[in-house]
C-alpha cells in the first residue's frame, strides 16, 4: 500500500511501486484530466505538481509521490477561478485541449516561482510541453495575463 495525497485528499493505493504516477492518478483514482502523451517525459501532457514542483507523472514512479502533495488539474481550483484558468478562457487558448491540463500545471509551477515571468522565463519553463494544435502564442499571452490578474489582487 502506498499513501498518496492528491488534491488534498488522502488515498491508500495497492499498486506496484514502479507504476508511473500518471496511471495511478488516471486509472486507480479516476482523475482523467491528466493525460498520457508519450510515456517518456518528452511532451508534458502528464504534468502534475509534486510538492509544488512540476513533474512528468508518466515517468515518475508512484513510490516517489508517497508522502508528498500531488496536485492535478482537477485540484488547481474549486470553481475554475485560478488566474491561469481564467486567462486560458479569456485568451481562448485550447483547441483540441488534450495538452492543456499539462500546459496549465506547468504554468502554475512557473507562476509560483516567478509571479511576473518574462518571455524568456516562459520559453524556459514551457518548452517541454508540446501542443500539436499550436496554441503557443496564446499560452504565452495567457500566462502574462494570469500574472497580471494575480498582481492586481483579482483572483
Amino acid at each position: 500500500m502506498i499513501a498518496l495525497k492528491v488534491n488534498g485528499k488522502k488515498h491508500e493505493v495497492d499498486v506496484d511501486p514502479e507504476t508511473p504516477l500518471l496511471w495511478v492518478i488516471r486509472e486507480t483514482l479516476g482523475l482523467t484530466g491528466t493525460k498520457y502523451g508519450c510515456g517518456m517525459a518528452l511532451c508534458g501532457a502528464c504534468t502534475v505538481l509534486l510538492d509544488g514542483e512540476a513533474v512528468r507523472s508518466c515517468s515518475t514512479p508512484v513510490s516517489q509521490a508517497a508522502q508528498k502533495e500531488v496536485t492535478t488539474i482537477e485540484g488547481l481550483s474549486a470553481d475554475m477561478d485560478h488566474p491561469l484558468q481564467k486567462a486560458w478562457i479569456a485568451e481562448d487558448v485550447p483547441q483540441c485541449g488534450y495538452c492543456q491540463s499539462g500546459q496549465i500545471m506547468q504554468a502554475a509551477a512557473l507562476l509560483q516561482k516567478s509571479p511576473k515571468p518574462t518571455d524568456a522565463d516562459i520559453d524556459n519553463s514551457m518548452s517541454g510541453n508540446i501542443c500539436r494544435c499550436g496554441t503557443y502564442q496564446r499560452i504565452r499571452k495567457a500566462i502574462h495575463e494570469a500574472a497580471r490578474m494575480t498582481e492586481g489582487g483579482r483572483k
Partner: protein
C-alpha cells in the same frame, strides 16, 4: 466525394428541427405531418431529437454531428443554429450526435468530419434547422395565446407578443413539439446576422481547462479492461506464434489473444498491459515489405519522375514551348512520409454484447467505423452505438478508411468477451503507418525573353491515398487520384502551356490524408518553384506572382493584403529576410509572409508570420485566427523537423525525441488578417498549413542563396562553411 450525395437539403429540413422537453421525436418526419402520426413509425428507433433539445429550464442542447478535434465546430456550428433560433447563447450546451443517416455530411453522404468542410456543408442546413425550430415555437405561442402568429416574435430564448405576453422556449417546447415542421422557412439576410461573423469564444474552453473534457482515452465503463497490441515490426507482417508465459506472470494481465493485426495483451490496467507486452515473445513473419527502405524508394521515385506519367492537366503544348524558350529552369523537390502524431494517441473502448455493441472513441469517420464494427461483431449497423468523444487532435488520422483502430478494438473485445479499451502507446501510434505519403516532384519551366513563364511541366511521384479504399471509384478518375495532384493541377498562374502528370507507385506503407492532404506537398513545390522562376527572371517574387494572377482575384487579393501588412520590401534588420507564398485549398485562399534568420550552424528561426486569409462569408473570426496560427505551427513542425523513414522495412522513428515538434520557444509571432468575403464559406482547418513551408524556404533563399528543395530543412545545407 460529390458523387456520394444522397440526401437533399430539403430532406434535412423535414427531419432536422426537433424540439421538446424530453420527448422522443423521430427522424425523417415528412413535412406537413404531425409528430403524433410519425411517432408510431419512429419511436422504435428511440433516438432523441436530431439537432435541438429544449429543456423546461430553457437549456438548449445542440447535438452536433461533426467531431470536435480542436477546429472549433462545437462553437461554429451552434452559431449557425443560434443565428436563426434566436436563443440565449449562454444557455447552449453541446453534445456529440449519435450515428444516424440524418447526421450525414450534406455533400458526402456519410457521417464524417474532414476536408475542412464542416462549416460550408452545414451552412444552410443548420440555419434552416434553427429557423424551423423557431417557427414551431412561435406557432406554439400563438396557439396558446390565441393570437395571430404574425403578431408574435422570437427574442433571446422566448416568444413575445405586443410586448406584454412572454413565454420562454422551455415553457413552449412541449406544445411546439406537437406541431408540424414547417415545409419552408425564410432565412435571414447576412446583413441581419447578429451571431454569424462575430468574434465568438469557444463553448468548450471551460471543460478543457479543468480536466473534465472527456477524450476517448478517458472513457470508461464498469468492468473495463485495458489492452495494448504488439503489432508487426514491418507493415504487412504477421505473428507466426508467441510465448505468453512471462506475460501471464505479470500481475494484472488477464488475456493474451492473437488477432490478425497482432497480439493483444489485456490487463486490469494500462501499465500491466504494457509490461505484459514487454515480456511477450513473438515470432514474426515479417512479410513482403521486409526490405523496404525510404532511401531506395527515393532513388526509384527520382527515376520514375524522368518518365511521363498519367496526365492530370494539359493546357497548350508544353513540350513544344520548351524548345522555343529563351530560358529553361528545372528542379527536383522531395518531401518525406509524415505522421499525424495527434497528442492523444489512438484508442478505442468497446463494450460488445450478444445483440449490441457500444464504442467510445474520438473518430472523424462515424459511418465507416460503425459499418466496419458491425461486420466484425456480426451485428447490424443499427446495433452499433458510437459515442464520439472529444478528439485529442485528428488531422485526418482519425478518419481511417479501414477503421483500423476501431476494427482492432472490436476484435479484441470479441476475443475477451468483456469491455476493453485498446490504447496505443506513443510508439505504436508513431510506427503505426497511415502516413502522409512521401513525394518526389520534377519541375521544368520556360521563360520568354521578357522573363514571362510560357511553359510549366510538373511530374509528381507518390503513393495514392485513395487507391484501395472504398472511395476509389468516386475520387480516382482516369487513374488520377485527385488528392495526389490537388494544388498542382489547378495552379492559378497565367501560363499558356501547362502539363501536370502523375506516377502512383504501389508500396506497402499505409498512407492517409494528413491535414491539407495533397496541398501539403504541392504548395511547397509549386510556390518554391515559382520563387525560382521569379529569381531567374530577375523579378521580385511578390511582383512576379502578381503579374500572373490577374485572372485569380481572390489569390491576388490575399497576396496583396499579406504583402502590405508584412511591409514587403521594407528594410529588415541585418540577417533577416522575408519569403512569400500564396495558395488556394479547400475553397479558401491563404497568403503568408515569413521572416526568418539562419544562425551560423544552419539552424533556421522563424520570427514572424503574417497571414492573409479569404475564406468567403465566414462564421467565427476567432476560429479563423486560431486555425491560421495552428496551421502555421503544424506546417512548421513538418518543414523544420518532420520525417518518417524506413530501413529494412521498419519505421525508424518512435517518439517525440526522434519525431520532433515545434515548441513554444520557437513559436513565431503570427498575425492574421481576414478578408471579409461575400462568396460561400470555404474551409479553415487545413488551408493555413500549405503556404508556410514555401514561405520559409523562399525567405531562406533570399537570405542565403540556398534553395531548399527537400523537407525537412536540414541545418547541414545552410551551415556556414
Amino acid at each position: 466525394m460529390n458523387g456520394m450525395l444522397n440526401m437533399s437539403r430539403r430532406d434535412f429540413l423535414k427531419t432536422g428541427a426537433m424540439i421538446g422537453g424530453g420527448l422522443i421525436l423521430g427522424f425523417r418526419l415528412p413535412a406537413g405531418t404531425t409528430p403524433a402520426e410519425a411517432a408510431t413509425q419512429t419511436q422504435a428507433a428511440a433516438i432523441p431529437n436530431a439537432f435541438i433539445r429544449i429543456s423546461p429550464d430553457n437549456t438548449i442542447t445542440l447535438l452536433i454531428n461533426k467531431s470536435e478535434m480542436g477546429q472549433g465546430v462545437y462553437t461554429s456550428l451552434p452559431m449557425l443554429i443560434a443565428e436563426e433560433l434566436e436563443c440565449d447563447w449562454n444557455k447552449i450546451k453541446v453534445e456529440s450526435a449519435p450515428v444516424d443517416p440524418v447526421y450525414n455530411h450534406t455533400a458526402y453522404g456519410m457521417q464524417m468530419t474532414g476536408g475542412s468542410s464542416s462549416v460550408w456543408s452545414e451552412y444552410d442546413r443548420l440555419r434552416e434547422v434553427g429557423a424551423a425550430c423557431r417557427e414551431m415555437l412561435i406557432a406554439a405561442a400563438a396557439q396558446t395565446w390565441k393570437v395571430p402568429r404574425a403578431s408574435c416574435r422570437a427574442k433571446k430564448g422566448a416568444v413575445v407578443h405586443s410586448g406584454r405576453k412572454r413565454l420562454t422556449y422551455g415553457q413552449l417546447a412541449d406544445e411546439a413539439a406537437k406541431l408540424p415542421v414547417p415545409a419552408q422557412v425564410a432565412l435571414k439576410k447576412p446583413s441581419a446576422f447578429t451571431i454569424i461573423g462575430k468574434p465568438t469564444k469557444r463553448l468548450d474552453t471551460p471543460e478543457k481547462v479543468n480536466g473534465t473534457a472527456v477524450f476517448g482515452i478517458d472513457a470508461k465503463v464498469p468492468g473495463m479492461l485495458m489492452a495494448v497490441i504488439a503489432r508487426p515490426p514491418v507493415f504487412g507482417g504477421k505473428a507466426k506464434g508467441f510465448n505468453a508465459e512471462k506475460t501471464k506472470a505479470v500481475k494484472g494481465v488477464s488475456d493474451v489473444v492473437q488477432i490478425d493485426s497482432g497480439v493483444a495483451v489485456v490487463a486490469d490496467s494500462f501499465w500491466s498491459a504494457q509490461r505484459g507486452r514487454d515480456a511477450l515473445e513473438i515470432t514474426w513473419d515479417e512479410g513482403p515489405n521486409v526490405s523496404l527502405s525510404t532511401t531506395e524508394m527515393r532513388t526509384q521515385f527520382a527515376e520514375l519522375a524522368k518518365t511521363p506519367g498519367k496526365i492530370a492537366r494539359k493546357d497548350g503544348e508544353a513540350v513544344q514551348a520548351f524548345t522555343k524558350a529563351a530560358k529553361r529552369i528545372s528542379a527536383e523537390y522531395e518531401v518525406p512520409y509524415l505522421a499525424h502524431a495527434c497528442m492523444e494517441p489512438l484508442n478505442c473502448l468497446v463494450d460488445l454484447r450478444a445483440d449490441s455493441c457500444e464504442i467510445w472513441t474520438g473518430t472523424q469517420f462515424q459511418t465507416v467505423d460503425r459499418n466496419a464494427a458491425a461486420a466484425i461483431a456480426g451485428l447490424k449497423p443499427e446495433q452499433i452505438k458510437i459515442h464520439t468523444t472529444f478528439l485529442g487532435g485528428g488531422f485526418g488520422r482519425r478518419a481511417n478508411p479501414h477503421s483500423d483502430f476501431v476494427v482492432e478494438a472490436v476484435k479484441v473485445a470479441k476475443e475477451v468477451k468483456k469491455p476493453v479499451k485498446v490504447v496505443w502507446t506513443r510508439e505504436d501510434d508513431m510506427k503505426g503507418g497511415y502516413y502522409r505519403p512521401m513525394w518526389y516532384d520534377r519541375l521544368e519551366a520556360a521563360l520568354d525573353e521578357k522573363g514571362k513563364p510560357v511553359a510549366w511541366q510538373h511530374t509528381i511521384v507518390g503513393q495514392s491515398i485513395i487507391g484501395g479504399t472504398p472511395f476509389e471509384s468516386a475520387m480516382v478518375k482516369d487513374g488520377i487520384d485527385q488528392t495526389s495532384v490537388e494544388g498542382a493541377k489547378e495552379i492559378p498562374y497565367a501560363i499558356p502551356n501547362i502539363l501536370v502528370d502523375l506516377h502512383s507507385p504501389k508500396i506497402g506503407v499505409p498512407v492517409q490524408w494528413w491535414r491539407s492532404v495533397g496541398h501539403s506537398h504541392t504548395c511547397f513545390v509549386v510556390e518554391s518553384f515559382m520563387d525560382e522562376l521569379a529569381h531567374a527572371a530577375g523579378r521580385d517574387p511578390y511582383e512576379f506572382r502578381r503579374g500572373l494572377l490577374a485572372k485569380s482575384p481572390r489569390n491576388l487579393r490575399v497576396l496583396d493584403l499579406v504583402a502590405r501588412k508584412a511591409h514587403w520590401g521594407a528594410p529588415l534588420p541585418k540577417g533577416r529576410s522575408r519569403g512569400i507564398a500564396v495558395h488556394e485549398s479547400f475553397g479558401s485562399f491563404v497568403a503568408q509572409v515569413a521572416e526568418v534568420t539562419v544562425d551560423p550552424a544552419g539552424k533556421v528561426r522563424v520570427h514572424r508570420v503574417v497571414c492573409a486569409v479569404d475564406c468567403g462569408n465566414f462564421v467565427n473570426p476567432e476560429t479563423i485566427r486560431a486555425q491560421m496560427e495552428s496551421g502555421v505551427v503544424f506546417g512548421l513542425s513538418a518543414g523544420l523537423y518532420g520525417a518518417i523513414t524506413l530501413k529494412e522495412g521498419k519505421v525508424e522513428q518512435s517518439n517525440f525525441n526522434d519525431y520532433q515538434m515545434l515548441r513554444l520557444l520557437e513559436m513565431p509571432e503570427v498575425e492574421v488578417h481576414i478578408v471579409q468575403g461575400k462568396e460561400k464559406p470555404g474551409g479553415i482547418g487545413e488551408p493555413g498549413v500549405p503556404p508556410i513551408a514555401p514561405a520559409v524556404c523562399n525567405a531562406i533563399f533570399a537570405l542565403t542563396g540556398t534553395r531548399i528543395r527537400s523537407l525537412p530543412i536540414r541545418a547541414e545545407e545552410l551551415k556556414k562553411a
